[in-house]
Symmetry: C2
Subunit: 428 residues, 2 copies
């Protein structure tokens, strides 16, 4: 971070730029649109995430000496193109759904306007960020729904690329997770961090007793002790013996979690540790969280499934040219006609139509300057104006927006079963 993001770009973006510069079309005003043809995995809604990171990447999209030297030496593009890149600055406009907003098939999640040369180059990095972060947030939001009022901690860093882990922690938090184990996410994005205890810590000591004693001595009785390294029942007795009823929490990481949670709750209560919380982990996903709703569980730790999008690690968003100037300088809608991959030409606008506060339709219009239909909430907001970033906001604003956006959806939005999007997308 601080590094240039300019080489997070596909080779062909630069060779296409070279050809467009040479041919003269590079400076045609162009409109690119990010959208998804479908929601991942038969889900009921998607979650826009990564917008703030896109703005960071845009600010860092500069071809400096190192980037230009690489491109020159590897002969990716010619000198004319290198000269253009050396002074590259995005000077156009970006509108988009605000981060945390729900989206549906065809929602124009981000609209990037500028010359072809300026706007086309941003395709790869914008899609990388939105596809990753939205996939994570879309999965995380379902887990949050399944967990009800119980908090979920994000523990998946070790199961995904080390930088994707940081973005995943951010995306999960904005979707409603309570915290992350990832310290970089704490440092860079201010996500609250949390942790429990490790099997290695227990094994390091000559006995579980010694390990618990050392942990409680240093971290206080309000810590979370890990109780499944050897024998769960014995560990619970040792834990309460050492920490007393002030013991913060215990974690169970193996076995049948529902059965174990009931047993451990009973043991804790019988030992007087009625306020000690039970945290469960072990390959949890939205389905297993939902299955634990009736178990005496006070919090979840979720790892692999959230950082891998619970079966859908990427959000299938694309970045398509939908309009560009013609030879006369008039903006014309354009769309490819490839088999099975339809796209709709034209600069769009988008509204969420509501009835009695409940969302009913995702309304997409191709008359960008039409006013919002009555009772409809406009979804596209200015993020960049004339190259200047105007859409930054605190991560907690996106988190709160997501909470409100899901709350506004019809009740079936929270169904975990596969099905259709919970509201239809209507183009007009």
């Amino acid at each position: 971070m601080g590094m240039s993001s300019a080489l997070l770009t596909d080779h062909y973006e630069l060779t296409m730029l070279q050809a467009a510069l040479a041919g003269g079309a590079a400076h045609r005003r162009s409109v690119f649109e990010v959208f998804a043809r479908h929601l991942p995995g038969g889900r009921r809604y998607g979650v826009v995430a990564g917008t703030g990171r896109v703005l960071d990447a845009l600010a860092g999209f500069r071809f400096g000496d190192a980037e230009l030297a690489y491109l020159r030496e590897s002969r990716v593009v010619n000198d004319e193109t290198l000269d253009f890149l050396a002074s590259y600055r995005f000077s156009g406009d970006v509108h988009g759904y605000r981060e945390g907003e729900c989206y549906f098939p065809g929602s124009p999640i981000m609209v990037v306007e500028g010359t072809f040369a300026e706007a086309g180059l941003l395709e790869t990095v914008i899609l990388s960020i939105l596809n990753h972060d939205s996939a994570i947030a879309s999965a995380a939001s379902r887990m949050v729904g399944a967990a009800g009022s119980r908090p979920i901690m994000e523990f998946g860093s070790r199961r995904t690329h080390e930088a994707a882990a940081v973005a995943s922690a951010r995306a999960a938090y904005l979707a409603g997770f309570s915290s992350t184990s990832n310290l970089m996410a704490g440092s860079v994005y201010g996500v609250p961090t949390a942790g429990t205890a490790a099997h290695a810590f227990t094994l390091l000591h000559d006995s579980e007793y010694d390990a618990f004693q050392a942990q409680i001595d240093s971290l206080g009785p309000d810590t979370t002790l890990l109780i499944d390294t050897y024998d769960v029942a014995k560990a619970v007795r040792t834990a309460v013996e050492l920490a007393g009823p002030a013991l913060g929490a215990v974690r169970i990481d193996s076995g049948d979690l529902a059965v174990a949670a009931h047993e451990v709750r009973q043991m804790l209560d019988s030992l007087g540790a009625t306020d000690t919380r039970i945290v469960v982990t072990s390959d949890l996903d939205e389905y297993s969280i939902a299955a634990l709703a009736a178990a005496p569980v006070d919090g979840y730790g979720v790892g692999t499934s959230v950082v891998t999008g619970s079966g859908v690690p990427t959000a299938a968003m694309v970045y398509k040219l939908v309009a560009r100037e013609d030879a006369d300088g008039v903006l014309q809608p354009v769309a490819k006609r490839s088999v099975g991959k339809p796209s709709r030409g034209g600069r769009k606008n988008a509204f969420r139509a509501l009835e009695d506060g409940t969302a009913v339709v995702e309304l997409i219009t191709t008359s960008p300057d039409a006013p919002a239909p009555e009772g409809a909430r406009p979804l596209l907001h200015a993020l960049v104006r004339g190259g200047e970033i105007v859409g930054r906001e605190p991560l907690d604003a996106a988190r709160e927006r997501h909470r409100a956006s899901v709350a506004e959806l019809p009740v079936p939005a929270r169904q975990l079963s596969h099905g259709d999007p919970v509201i239809p997308t209507v183009f007009s």
Copy 2:
């Protein structure tokens, strides 16, 4: 890259460190082992990837002023622990499978030895890297096998986190992909970069004819033209009319690729463009690549499926304490007994037993100093000695090693169907 990797770490690694420092066990000599209990998705072999990146992360694992300030302000750990972290240097040893080597369930892919304090902290970042890169390489290797002698280009950057994209390009290349679209991977790791043409480029122009003309004028007739924006047959005629028989390649990105490839081959041949290659893209994975074996295809571009591990985005590797000093300074094997998550205590060694040059058994011993059994290849090599990195190597060495390692496996290794690992793991 250049940045500290120290905060790519789970919160509890530091609180466990604090408790171990206070309790006195932190300086016990410890052995941690990276292994996977199973291969992803019923595959026949896994591919070790990320080793070189682990060494980079290890070199950058330093708690500088910024990292310490964050930890102090957020009160993750106490002052004693911050003092320890300020002077943290890993001074232990790391042995591991060399990058590109195949692995099997239980293979001790990496063995990290040092004090608990020094070695335990590395868990998160080591697993993040190995789990991600090995998942990508394991999927990529199957695609390379399915493609036979035809080259595969990695085009998936836009479908994964922007930094994971760079690591994915690296992992796919070491598994045998010919190139990547990711320019950062070219710049940082020297992976050859390649690209074709974009629908947006065609749509930018007033006609496909104009677009092809501009591309050929600037990039030469040896370029790759994208022929499915409007009508494939018309595009092929236009392409050959403009570029002549010297046209490098055409790309097909939609429709039934086998049918389209046959039709396009016939058209190209009938127009005299018999040397013009056909590149296909469009949600390809190892299965669809295999299904195209009989089609006249000269190369593949693979995106989503390779960067998401073709259904298995993480390799399920864990980092377990397998031995540590007891109170008398004697190294003792340790293992947890959690239900359904067995691990084997003790420092391991590993060999691949061969018969007539073909691998027959993955042999894991717990007598680390025993000599290699006859006809067996030792798999653990020194990567770090006394804190000094000794295991760096060029990426092409890992690529060549992978080629040789797969070639050594029994023929069924290349089967795409689900099944058992192609050789058994034997513990002795």
